[in-house]
């Protein structure tokens, strides 16, 4: 077997295959083909074989148009193909790059098998693109949370302002003892709201760990019954004002802890009740039902409003989708509920009520006492 020339041996070591362009436009290999090239294009078995462009590679066929322009221009012009990938018959991926140039008046095509340097470049690009994607996702999340924060804060601030005004008007009157009790409740509600706004703002400005996926220590888990009782107490007056009957179908048992911060759970339940109240017509009814399941509990708030369309059910909890049913305030409330419930591993949904109306439900995992 003849030894390759030193020039050919160097080219092969560097991962290059050299082709010379003939007068008929064919590309004839200079010297012996390296093994990687023969595995790609077996027609190059023989020394000085012609590169079967049309059968070999659509990419190369396309590049040869640029190469031809480069050869016509001559001089020190070079045309580079950029990297591309071919597969051998055995399925091995081979990364290549072609360069067209003129050397000593001869049109030359170099095909390089890309090696470690290219792998390193690819690795850098991989990391850079992963970072860009992560950055885009993070930006998007931050944007959504900022919008949510402002929506929730606005909603609560407006509610608070109404309460404060009402309290001041009532306080100015000569109140019987029962009214004073009610005033006490309302004052507590106001304070709770103020604390909640402050807490939500704190949570968003720091790391949002509690609401968004943070692990909660068992000691901080809320008692569901306490939260429900507080929520019902909070909305009872509004239900009475609108003449909507609030009924409970609850088999109340011992303490039932769920992995949600108490004020958030209270806000979720209040939100569901306010949502039902908003939908219910005067004289209608809303039912709260709680079912104790094996590892979770299911709480349903069913209203007596007309049933929504199927599409509306799908859109109710969509991320900042325009509500197809209910008000904007209602959409914000439900979105807040969804975030809190899903972040603790629970589920939220809405479906037609058994006989009529709409049934909003949450399913929360139970915290098992150790």
């Amino acid at each position: 077997m003849p030894h390759p020339s030193p020039a050919n041996a160097v080219l092969e070591t560097l991962g290059y295959a050299l082709f010379l362009r003939g007068g008929d436009g064919s590309l004839r290999e200079a010297g012996e083909s390296p093994q990687w090239l023969r595995s790609l294009w077996p027609a190059l078995e023989k020394d000085g074989a012609v590169l079967p462009i049309e059968d070999a590679s659509p990419f190369l066929e396309n590049f040869l148009i640029d190469a031809e322009a480069c050869w016509q221009e001559g001089g020190e012009q070079r045309a580079r193909s950029g990297p591309w990938v071919e597969e051998t018959g055995g399925g091995e991926r081979v990364e290549l790059e072609a360069t067209a140039m003129t050397a000593s008046g001869q049109a030359v095509l170099l095909i390089e098998r890309l090696g470690a340097e290219f792998a390193a470049k690819k690795n850098v690009l991989q990391k850079a693109r992963e970072t860009v994607i992560a950055h885009q996702r993070l930006n998007s999340e931050i944007q959504k949370k900022e919008i949510l924060l402002h929506c929730v804060a606005d909603e609560m601030t407006a509610t608070l302002a109404n309460i404060v005004t009402s309290l001041r008007l009532i306080e100015a009157e000569d109140n019987p003892p029962r009214t004073k009790v009610l005033l006490g409740l309302a004052t507590r509600g106001t304070e709770d709201q103020q604390r909640l706004i402050s807490r939500v703002l704190d949570v968003f400005s720091e790391e949002m760990g509690t609401i968004y996926g943070g692990k909660m220590a068992n000691g901080n888990a809320a008692d569901f019954w306490t939260a429900l009782s507080q929520s019902v107490e909070m909305v009872e007056g509004a239900f009475a004002d609108k003449g909507v009957k609030l009924t409970r179908s609850i088999g109340e048992k011992d303490t039932l802890r769920v992995p949600v911060e108490a004020s958030h759970l209270e806000r979720v339940l209040t939100g569901l009740l306010e949502n039902a109240l908003e939908r219910a017509s005067a004289g209608g009814a809303v039912e709260i039902a709680v079912e104790d399941e094996a590892d979770s509990l299911l709480c349903r708030v069913t209203d007596s409003a007309p049933r929504m369309s199927g599409e509306a059910y799908d859109d109710l909890f969509s991320t900042f989708g325009m509500p197809t049913a209910g008000s904007h305030a209602s959409a914000v409330r439900l979105h807040f509920c969804r975030i809190v419930i899903e972040s603790c591993g629970g589920e939220i949904g809405c479906e037609p009520g058994e006989t009529s109306g709409n049934s909003f439900w949450i399913r929360l995992p139970k915290v098992v006492a150790k």
Binding site: N62, P83, R129, R137, S140
Partner: protein, 166 residues
Amino acid sequence: MIQKKVCLLGTSGVGKTSLVAQFVHSMFSEKYLTTVGVKIDKKTVRVGDEDVMLMIWDLAGDDDFQRLQTSYLRGTSGFLLVADGTRAVTLDQVLELKTRVEGSMGSAPFLLALNKADLAPQWEVDEARIAGLAADGWHVIKTSAKAGEQVEDAFTELARRMIAAS
């Protein structure tokens, strides 16, 4: 047999390579591996009574790190524009890319694949925007390279449009 060159266009990480892998090899990998350069695959689809061999050029994502080489688009019969439905910004980017490509090589049949339909809860491209594109005459298909949803349909519909245009 009729042969048509199809180029996949879109920014990085939208799932162009995954769509091709699903369409040609019925494979999907969760791991994101960036494409650097070009990979060409072939697959035959049936359009009416004809078999159409698609030469699918999977091009590296166009972004700040690598710009699309328009010489790769020479002889293209149609484009599959790909955006990631969970990143609305990628739709803006592919629209901008389409304008750039059409400015340099003229128009050709195209279809927009909004990929990652399996990640519906994280979806950012809203229905109103899709309806707006449809109203402008765009054919938009929600695909999932992971689940294989609508992938075959997207390529076949593009082939049908390319045949109709030729």
